[in-house]
Subunit: 457 residues, 2 copies
């Protein structure tokens, strides 16, 4: 693969310029005003994959945002790698906290600053460029398919159906995903577990219009106060979620598993410094690594109600709402949890208010076995690039569709992500190191080499 | 006063057109973008009072919005009525719930629909027109001064200082205020007590930027969840405020006072229907009339944090905030309560977050004695207009400056308001009945007659 790696070195600057064009399109899937941007991004990727060497590339419509599919079949007898990535990004909100324009990439301090720089445009584009390099160098050792969606950040609602309808088209031996992070640049890792997600929205309604808080204060249930009470009842003082049945399917780790799991490098001071807090919190009896990797969690993602602008307004608001999501761990089922949540939330609401509960999206947890060929190939590729053997690591994040790939397509996924926690994905000032981008491309090329060779053994 | 009342009948339509011009100016004191509108409104009122017959009228600058002062001195030996009103209004937010434009008055079903139609532009303009009618008819029986401010809805921060500096200018025998409501149109009332107000804003900060809720969920205190917990801790399950010392200065009513107080007409079904709730709430052991009239209360007026737009965003927000106000009852002191609130809120906050607490504004509770001349004159005027003897009534609302008038100017206030609960002040679709407006003007003229006559006795 020497020529492929040389090709990368020769075209580094062009690769970056192309990525910048991709980053400039504000492909925010959560906001309907960006509908046109989603199609533009898909078209852009289709052309980029054709130019990179695909035999065919298509923008395939779905009920939501289109899927970009592309492939290069070098020999039907050889293994096939299916690259998955997503071209949609998180909203820029809160815009005021960005130090640069959210959709205008800037290189500073060796990093690309832009929404999507890491998650997932930067990471998916590494695959397009690794592919181009291998094709250009005449070294592509296997078949490659690309399946790029535009709805990952909203739970991939259309990709499940697309996979059902395109099982043959997308058939392959392994799904290759770069949409995760490493423990650190010094301690690379391969993600072998992902938490699931159950994302709910609740609305509490009191009076049918905002009331004067002087004339009515003290005589009427205030939906904002009630919402606080209800949210507070969802987690107890030991950090345990109180929804009846919530933990029923959670498997407790064995002492040995816990011991292994806690071998991952973790420095409490650095961890706290990285996020700017002076004390951590969480479920009693578990370490931070366990709390984020193999224990479920519940968080308010957003809350709003009443007067939230400058100054004062003396009202009892008519409504108050919150977005609340739960991360789930292996064996939990998000659809079951959504029902448990709704039942419990309704059951604890007082008769003085009305509540509305809906499930916005969800995804099942996923485990990637460390004994499969793809894992061993990835391990070798990462070790060659970093000079350090990567740790298998359970990530707290979720890529709901990954468990869908297994159930619908019967394919396992290998998660080689090059993100770092400082990339601040989903936050203002998202960034991606140039070194991460280029090392990612090199490592992906190495993965193709080892995976093809090991599969042939 | 026959000629004055005839004058009103002859000029009804013009009075309404003028009020509409006043209502069209969006004089929202809480929002700095309306700074220019405040000055426009003050200038408009100055001219209107000159035209109505004032000898002098001035727009007097303050550190905030200007005070409009006007007067007509018919005879220094006669009593002087000081009319107080406020030309600022509440924000229109939430705009989506208005059935008409918030600042374009419309008459429908015999009512004026517009922000400020009642509170307080509609009510203050009744005074300008009653004054005009008496001047035009040559029947003005005493001296009149107008003191109209533009900051009542934000706690009158500048009027206290203005009063200190203009004690002589504004000197008089009674302050006449129409900024309250009646029990009902069938059961008119005169407000003899107002609750005080202590309005706070709190901010809870967790991590120094929004975090990915998958990667960090379970290991970090979520400021939105913590805020809910803290708010929940402010009121116990019996509806009692938990802030230590909060009730220290609250005087318990005697059984006799409670009995009298509860004689006011109250129909639970109608009360609930009027605000669209199926059950009431509040402090155990007290009636609805007591809960809103003579017991303190605590309400979240607004709450916000994290992602609140369409769809989903999987974050642990960095911050969450709330506006929280308390209504206070006689003997409570808002400055003391603000300190107690802040101390308590800080004391219950966990070490996993930082909290910021500030006091936005406040005002002392007020009691208007029923044995003063002005009360008896008002009682007679209302009885003549309505054919029913008005009840003395404790309102749950606050007009903080009213207690300031007593402490700074040494003058009592008489609160003859013509509002009704259906006017929906501070809410979308505020309105004011044409009958309320015209009956108000007539009753004010009657008040002048009786007050002058009784003062001369």
């Amino acid at each position: 693969m020497k020529k492929s790696q040389e090709f990368v070195q020769q075209h580094k600057e062009r690769f970056l310029e192309e990525l910048f064009d991709l980053l400039r399109i504000p492909s925010v899937s959560a906001q309907s005003e960006h509908k046109g941007d989603m199609v533009r991004t898909a078209e852009w990727l289709r052309e980029a994959l054709l130019k990179a060497g695909a035999d065919r590339a298509e923008v395939m419509p779905t009920e939501g945002n289109p899927v970009v599919f592309a492939e290069k079949i070098v020999d039907p007898a050889k293994p096939t790698v299916v690259v998955y990535g997503h071209y949609d990004v998180m909203p820029e909100d809160p815009k005021g906290e960005w130090l640069t324009e959210p959709f205008e990439p800037v290189v500073k301090d060796g990093r690309i600053w832009c929404r999507g720089a890491d998650d997932d445009k930067g990471q998916l584009y590494m695959h397009a460029k690794a592919f181009e390099a291998m094709v250009a160098a005449g070294e592509l050792p296997c078949n490659v398919k690309f399946m790029l969606e535009g709805e990952e950040e909203i739970g991939s609602p259309s990709l499940y159906g697309w996979c059902e309808q395109n099982k043959e088209l997308v058939k392959g031996d392994i799904i290759l995903v770069s949409d995760t992070s490493m423990v650190s640049w010094q301690q690379p890792s391969i993600t072998c577990g992902l938490r699931g997600l159950c994302y709910m929205q609740v609305e509490v309604t009191g009076p049918d219009h905002d009331l004067h808080s002087g004339l009515f204060g003290g005589a009427v249930a205030n939906p904002a106060n009630v919402l606080c009470d209800l949210i507070n009842k969802l987690v107890d003082e030991n950090g345990r979620i109180t929804i009846p049945g919530f933990y029923d399917d959670v498997r407790e780790l064995t002492p040995e598993e816990r011991e292994n799991f806690n071998k991952a490098p973790y420095n409490k001071e650095n961890y706290m410094k990285g996020i700017g807090v002076e004390e951590l919190a969480g479920e009693s009896g578990y370490t931070t690594i366990e709390r984020t990797g193999v224990r479920p969690s519940l968080d308010v993602n957003g809350i709003w109600g009443g007067y939230t602008l400058e100054g004062t307004k003396t009202i009892i608001p008519s409504k108050a709402s919150a977005k609340i999501s739960m991360r789930l761990v292996p064996n939990q089922n998000w659809e079951k949890i959504a029902v448990l949540f709704e039942d419990y939330f309704r059951s604890i609401a007082p008769a003085t208010v009305k509540v509305d509960v809906k499930s916005l999206h969800g995804g099942q947890p996923y485990v990637s076995p460390t004994d499969m060929v793809a894992y061993r190939a990835a391990e070798k590729a990462v070790e060659e690039s970093f000079g350090v053997r990567p740790l298998p690591f359970f990530s707290g994040g979720s890529i709901p569709i990954v468990s869908g790939f297994e159930s619908i397509l019967g394919m396992k996924s290998i998660l080689i992500g090059f993100g770092l926690s400082k990339d601040a994905i989903h936050s203002p000032n998202e960034s991606f190191g140039l070194e991460q981008f280029y090392t990612g491309i090199e490592t992906i090329i190495r993965f193709y080499k080892h995976f093809s060779a090991m599969s042939a053994e």
